[in-house]
Symmetry: C2
C-alpha cells in the first residue's frame, strides 16, 4: 500500500495473476509513473530468484491542493505519495467567487513555477460540495451558492481540477496516506469551532443524498442542553464546539476567555472549567458512539483545532505558547468513557485514535483528492 512491492506481492494483494501484473506494470514503467528500485526484495536467506521491487515514481506527477476559507487560502504542492514539497498561505482579500478564483490561479501559478510535472489541482471547501460536477452548492462561510468552482479554476489554470468538501477531503487524505490505510470503514471527526465528520463505509466515502452527511455535530445529547445555532437544544456542537464552551464559561462568570484559557483553568482544577469541558467530552463521546452504533465503524480518528498540531501534547501544561487552542486533552478521558458506555455490544471495539492537525493537512487532503482522481481516471479521455 505504500507503493513499494515486488510484482509477486502485488499479485497476491490484488488477487491477480503474476502475468497480469507484469502487463499492468510495464506501461506504467514506460511512462515513468513506476520505477524499479535496485533493491532485491525479501532480503537474505530465501531461496530462488530475488524479487525486484517496483515503486511509484512519486515525482512523476505533482498535484496542488488548496484549502479555501473565507480568510485564507492554504496551498500545498504534493507528489503522488502526497508528501508535501512546498506550501504557501495567502490572505483572502475578497471572498466573492471571481476574486477567489483569481487568487487560486495566482497561488497555483506560484507553486507550479519550476515544476512542469504539476498535472492536477484539488480544492477543499467547507459546505455542500458536489464533487461529481465540481460545483459548490452552498458554502455558508464563503456565502456562496452554486458556484462552478471546478470548471472556472480548470479553465484558468488548464489543469484537471477536483473539488471536494473539506472534511471529506481530509478523510480521503487520511484514508490513503494516513492512519486509515487499508481500512474499509473509518470515521473522521473534527473537534474545534464546529464538530464535523466524514465517513468511509464499505470502502466508499459517504456523500449523502442531499449533500449532507456526517453531521455528528447535531446529534442530540441533552434535550435540556444549550441552544444550538441549528435551532435545537443540546446538540454535540452546542456543548462541545468552541462557541458553546465559551458561552457556558461566560454564564459561570468567566467572560472574555479563549478556549486555551478554559483548558488551562480546567487543568488547574477550576470546577466550572472542569465541568464544562467534561460535558463537552461526554458530548463528543456520545456522538462518536452514535457513529459506531449506526455504522459499525472500524476505526475512528479524532482531529481538529482542539487537538492541536504537534504530535504529542505537552502533558506538563506549561511552556504552552499563548493563544494555544488545545483543549481536547482535558476532554479526552470523558470522550472515551462516554464512548465506552454508549457503544452497543461489539461496536465498542472500534479503535479511537487522535491525530494532530495542521492547516496544511487540510490542503493535503485536497491534494489527496486530486491524486485519487488522477489514479482512477488514468488512461481515459
Amino acid at each position: 500500500m505504500t507503493g513499494d512491492a515486488s510484482r509477486t506481492a502485488l499479485a497476491r494483494d490484488t488477487g491477480l495473476t503474476p502475468g497480469a501484473i507484469t502487463r499492468a506494470v510495464r506501461p506504467l514503467l514506460e511512462v515513468g509513473l513506476l520505477h524499479e528500485t535496485g533493491d532485491r526484495a525479501p532480503a537474505e536467506g530465501t531461496l530462488g530468484r530475488p524479487a525486484t521491487v517496483v515503486t511509484v515514481q512519486a515525482e512523476a506527477h505533482l498535484v496542488i491542493g488548496v484549502k479555501v476559507t473565507a480568510d485564507e487560502l492554504f496551498g500545498v504542492l504534493c507528489d503522488l505519495r502526497c508528501r508535501v514539497l512546498d506550501e504557501v498561505t495567502v490572505p483572502v482579500r475578497d471572498h466573492r467567487p471571481e476574486a477567489i478564483v483569481e487568487q487560486i490561479t495566482d497561488l497555483v501559478a506560484g507553486l507550479r513555477a519550476g515544476h512542469p510535472e504539476v498535472g492536477s489541482i484539488g480544492l477543499a471547501v467547507s459546505g455542500d460540495v458536489d464533487a461529481a460536477s465540481g460545483h459548490v452548492a452552498y458554502s455558508p462561510f464563503l456565502t456562496w451558492r452554486d458556484v462552478p468552482l471546478g470548471e472556472q479554476v480548470a479553465e484558468r489554470t488548464g489543469l484537471a481540477t477536483t473539488v471536494e468538501n473539506d472534511v471529506r477531503a481530509l478523510l480521503t487524505g487520511e484514508r490513503w496516506y494516513g492512519v486509515g490505510r487499508g481500512l474499509s470503514s473509518l470515521a473522521l471527526v473534527t473537534v474545534g469551532t464546529g464538530i464535523g465528520c466524514a465517513l468511509l463505509v464499505n470502502g466508499q466515502v459517504v456523500h449523502g443524498s442531499f449533500g449532507v452527511a456526517g453531521e455528528v455535530g447535531h446529534v442530540l445529547v441533552d434535550p435540556d442542553g444549550p441552544l444550538c445555532h441549528c435551532g435545537n437544544r443540546g446538540c454535540v456542537e452546542a456543548i462541545a464546539g468552541t462557541a458553546g464552551i465559551l458561552e457556558r464559561m461566560a454564564q459561570a462568570g468567566f467572560g472574555g476567555l479563549g478556549i486555551g484559557d478554559v483548558a488551562d483553568l480546567a487543568r488547574s482544577g477550576q470546577p466550572d472549567a472542569v465541568r464544562v469541558l467534561a460535558d463537552a467530552g461526554r458530548a463528543v463521546g456520545t456522538g462518536i458512539a452514535t457513529i459506531a452504533n449506526l455504522l459499525g465503524a472500524q476505526h475512528i480518528v479524532i482531529t481538529g483545532e482542539a487537538i492541536g498540531s504537534s504530535p504529542a501534547p505537552d502533558d506538563r501544561g506549561e511552556g504552552r505558547p499563548a493563544g494555544d487552542e488545545r483543549d481536547y486533552d482535558v476532554m479526552d478521558p470523558h470522550v472515551r468513557r462516554a464512548f465506552e458506555q454508549r457503544a452497543f455490544g461489539s461496536a465498542a471495539s472500534a479503535a479511537i485514535e487522535l491525530r494532530p492537525l495542521r492547516f496544511v493537512d487540510w490542503a493535503r487532503g485536497a491534494a489527496a483528492c486530486a491524486v485519487e482522481d488522477f489514479v482512477t481516471h488514468y488512461g481515459r479521455s
Copy 2:
C-alpha cells in the same frame, strides 16, 4: 427494474451497447431465465421498429425464504420476482441448532414438494450474522453462538443456502422489490418490541466492521430517561420499545395493559397514554433524524409490529380486533415533527414512508437474499 424492458432500454440503463445486451440476453433466453413477451414496447405513436419486451421468467428458479425465531419458523416459497407462491408457519419445539436445522429441513421439503425449480434457500436470523460464511455468530433470542447454520442446511437440503441478519434481509427485500427500488441510499427502521434498523449506503448494505450496525435503538434521546437493557438511560428503545412504553404506563398507574390498549387510551385522549406515546414518537423521530444527519439517507422506511400489517390503518379507532398491536399511528405525528425539527439542513429532504409488515415479509426478505445471491453468482462454479 421490474424486469420488463426492451433491449434498448436495458442498454440505456446499464450503460452498455445494444450489441452487448443482445449477447448478454441470448444465453439467458436459452436457459429460460428470460423470455420475450409478445408485447411491442412503448405502445403506439412512435416511429421505427417496435421494441420487443424481455422479462424475467420468474418461475424458472424458485427460492425458499425462512425467518427463524425462537418460537416459530416462517417459510415462504417465492419466484425470482420475490412474489410469494406459498407460505407456512411452524412452531419451534426446541431451539437448539440441530433441532432447528431439522425443522428447517422439513419445512423446506414441504414447500419444495412438486416444485423442482426450487434452487436456493435464504435464512433470516436476528442477531449477529456473518453473511459471507453463513455463520450465526451470536443470536441472543436463540441463545446461539457461532452456529454454522448455512453449511448445515445446505448439506441437509442440497440447496445453495444464504444466511443473513433478519433486518438486513428485510432491507434487501425492500431494496430490490419494495419501495427501495432504484435507490442507493435507504434506511429501514423497525418499530415494535425493539427498535431495529438496517442501512443501505452507496448502494451497499452496511454490515458493520464487528457485525453491529444500524443500532438506532440505542441512540441517546434523553440522559434522564428510563433505563435501557443496554445499561444506559434514555435510549430510543427504552422510550419507544414496547416494554418501555408499558413500563411507563405502569408507572402512571396503568399496569397490565397491552400495547394496543395504550394506543386505544391515547386515541380516547387519556393524558398519560398520550404523553407516553408522544415521547415514544419523539424518540423514534430523533433516531431517524440522526440517521438522516449522519448518512444523508434518501429514503426512510418505517415498519414493524407497531405499524400493523394491513395497508391502511383504520382511522376510526373502532372495529379494531382485540390484541391489535398497532400503536404507531398515534406516534406518527410526533415522529415526523421530531424528525423535521432535528434533521439538519437538507437532510430533512429524506422521504419517510410507512410500510405495514406481516410476518411473511420477514421470510420474503430472506428469500430476496437468496435471489440476490442466485443472480450475482449465476454462471460461476
